[in-house]
Structures are given as structure tokens and as C-alpha cells.
Amino acid sequence: MVDTLDLGSSAVRCESSSLSFRTKIKNENMLVGLFALLVFLILGEAVQSWAAIPVPSSIIGMVLLLIVIILRNKIPKNIESAANKLAPLLPLFIIPISAGLITQVDIIQQHGLKLLAILTISLIPGALVTALILRLGNRTGNRLEKKSGSK
């Protein structure tokens, strides 16, 4: 599996093939990182079923990993490499899920336009509230002390 994925990513990004030695070392690191991510995923699942929390197990795994990183105050190199390699492939991993939409044709036909309208309209207050709070927050922040002055 990992081979297949890597084939995808390197073909897409047209990485040069002359760095085979470095790539090999990187891949080995990445596998260790992937292993660690999977271990945290399993831990997340364990915590979820043990504590009966409705939060998705992958998020619990993420929080556990975040706690470990905060305690060490440093991101482990292998995990960083695996996370950074996997993230750009996200669209590939999502396509199979989104293809499941063909089982929902009824809903789309009946409510498609309404759904589109809802998705568009709801964006507007969200974006405005976010921007307004930031503006106000920065203003009070600037008054309290001279910070975030990069803009």
C-alpha cells in the first residue's frame, strides 16, 4: 500500500529520481512515523471505547499525540515526515468516500438546490463574525500592549 501511495505522490510532484538514496532514508523514517500514527489511532480507539466518548477515535488519537508533543516540546522527526507526506495525498483518500454520493441521489434530486443555498448563505455570517472578532481583539490587544503589530 505504502508503495502505491508513494508512487502517486512522487509522480504527481515530479520529484527528481536522482535522490534515490535520500528518498530511501526518508521513506524508512516515514514508515516509522506511519507506524507511530497508527499506534496513536489505536490508542484513540481504545480510549474512545473505554471512556465511551462520542468524539471520533482519530481525533482522540490526535489529541493524545498533541499531548505527547507538548510534553516533549518538540515534534518527533519521523512523525513529522509521515504527517507531511500523507497530508498532500488527502484528496486521494477522500475520493472513495465522496463517491458514495451516488447512493444518495434521491436526497440530491429532492433537496440539491436548497442544500446549495444553505451552504452558501451560512458562509456569510460565519466569515463576518470571525473577521469582526479578530478586528476587535487586535484593537484591544494593541491598546493593552504593543503586540501583533506585524500588520
Binding site: A82, L89, P96, T103, L134
Partner: protein, 228 residues
């Protein structure tokens, strides 16, 4: 013979990979057009092939799930950018956290209310709640709250495309535009697609957007299952 091939998980795994590669090519040749992200073109190619060959989704899924399995480790790996951004933006963190919390809950609240009054199907209402978080997390939330994961993915993608298109001009119209406000609003409302738009606007936009996207996702994943 063809019908045999169409039943194989390997075939659909290959088709998905091919569709993604083609989508990536298309995206690059269109100069990174935010209205056609690889996930959308890939989705269109895969679904039209399924439709043309009359293949049921359950057959496709056997191959496809080998790829979607990786969403789990990707979500766990979000801890890396989260820590990184937290470290970089410590000073403004409280303001940003407030903005992200209230901004994202506003957009989700509006969507839930509208869906509740206009459509009033429970599964759709609880699915639309996860529309503003990045797809892997949205899918995980939908599975957790009794929503429909495929629909969640579609909502997220559509929201991302519309948000990336309208948020920068909207904020400019209200004189609220800046790398910080536009970047964070893009990340809060339009997640990954918004972030790729932010990357085009500039590095500062991109950093804010990526941070907002990750924070929104974790916040919602932790809050929404209790609320729905």
C-alpha cells in the same frame, strides 16, 4: 471477462488512483483553479465510471476503502501542524481562538437552522453540521453522529469551493480584509480548499488559514458529537 474485472477491488483502486492523477494534472493545467480541486474532478471521474459500468458502490468500496483507510492516520497527524502553529502564534492565540470558536459556530448554527426549517430531515441536519471542517474530520464526525458520510464529504467540498470564491471579496466589501482576517476566515469556513486559495494570496494568509482550519476541525470534532 469485463464484468469479472469490474468486480475486482484492484480495478477500482487503480481507477481511483488514476482519477486522482488526472484530476491533479487538470488542476495544474488550469493554473490551480479553485473551482476544480483534484478531489472534485477525481470524484466526477470515478462516479461517472461507476454509473457507466453500472457498478454498485458496495463493489467499488472494497477497492476504495484501501485508500480511505488512510484518513485515520492523516487526522492523527494533524497534531503536527496544530502544535507548530500554536507555537508560532502564541501571543494572539486567545483572540484567534475566540474568533475561530464563535465564527465557526455561527456558520454551522446558521446552516443547521436553515436545514432544520427548509428540509427537516434529521440525518441531513446532523450531516450539515460538519460542513465547515476538513473532509477527513467531517467524515469521522458524520459517522459518529449518525449523519451520512458521503453527504458530509460532498457538503465540505462544495462549501470549500464557494467559500474560497466569496470570502475574500466579501471581507473586502466590509473593509475587514487583511492577511489575518481573510486567512483565518478562509480556514474557518472553507477549510482545505480555502487554505489552498489562501496559499495563492500569500504566505501570511496561508499560515493563518492552515492554523484556523486545523483548530476548527479539532474543536468541532470534540464539540459537535455532544451537541447533536
Amino acid at each position: 471477462m469485463l464484468t469479472d474485472i469490474l468486480q475486482q477491488p484492484t480495478t477500482w483502486l487503480t481507477v481511483t488512483l488514476g482519477a486522482y492523477l488526472l484530476g491533479q494534472k487538470l488542476y495544474q493545467s488550469l493554473n490551480h483553479a479553485s473551482w476544480l480541486p483534484p478531489v472534485l474532478s477525481g470524484f466526477l471521474i470515478v462516479t461517472s465510471l461507476l454509473w457507466l459500468t453500472d457498478t454498485p458502490y458496495t463493489v467499488y468500496k472494497q477497492g476504495g476503502q484501501l485508500l480511505s483507510f488512510f484518513l485515520g492516520p492523516v487526522v492523527v497527524g494533524l497534531a503536527v501542524p496544530l502544535f507548530y502553529h500554536f507555537h508560532k502564534m502564541k501571543k494572539q492565540f486567545i483572540t484567534i481562538l475566540f474568533a475561530i470558536t464563535f465564527g465557526s459556530l455561527t456558520t454551522v448554527g446558521t446552516a443547521i437552522a436553515l436545514a432544520h426549517y427548509w428540509i427537516s430531515i434529521d440525518a441531513i441536519t446532523s450531516t450539515i453540521a460538519s460542513k465547515s471542517v476538513t473532509t477527513p474530520v467531517a467524515v469521522a464526525i458524520a459517522e459518529q453522529t449518525g449523519g451520512i458520510s458521503a453527504l458530509a464529504a460532498a457538503f465540505v467540498i462544495v462549501t470549500g469551493i464557494i467559500g474560497a470564491a466569496i470570502i475574500p471579496p466579501l471581507l473586502k466589501l466590509f473593509r475587514l480584509g487583511s492577511p489575518q482576517t481573510t486567512g483565518i476566515s478562509l480556514g474557518v469556513c472553507a477549510h482545505a480548499v480555502g487554505t489552498s486559495r489562501a496559499i495563492e494570496l500569500g504566505q501570511e494568509y496561508a499560515a493563518y488559514s492552515a492554523m484556523a482550519m486545523t483548530l476548527t476541525a479539532s474543536l468541532h470534532a470534540i464539540l459537535l458529537p455532544w451537541l447533536l
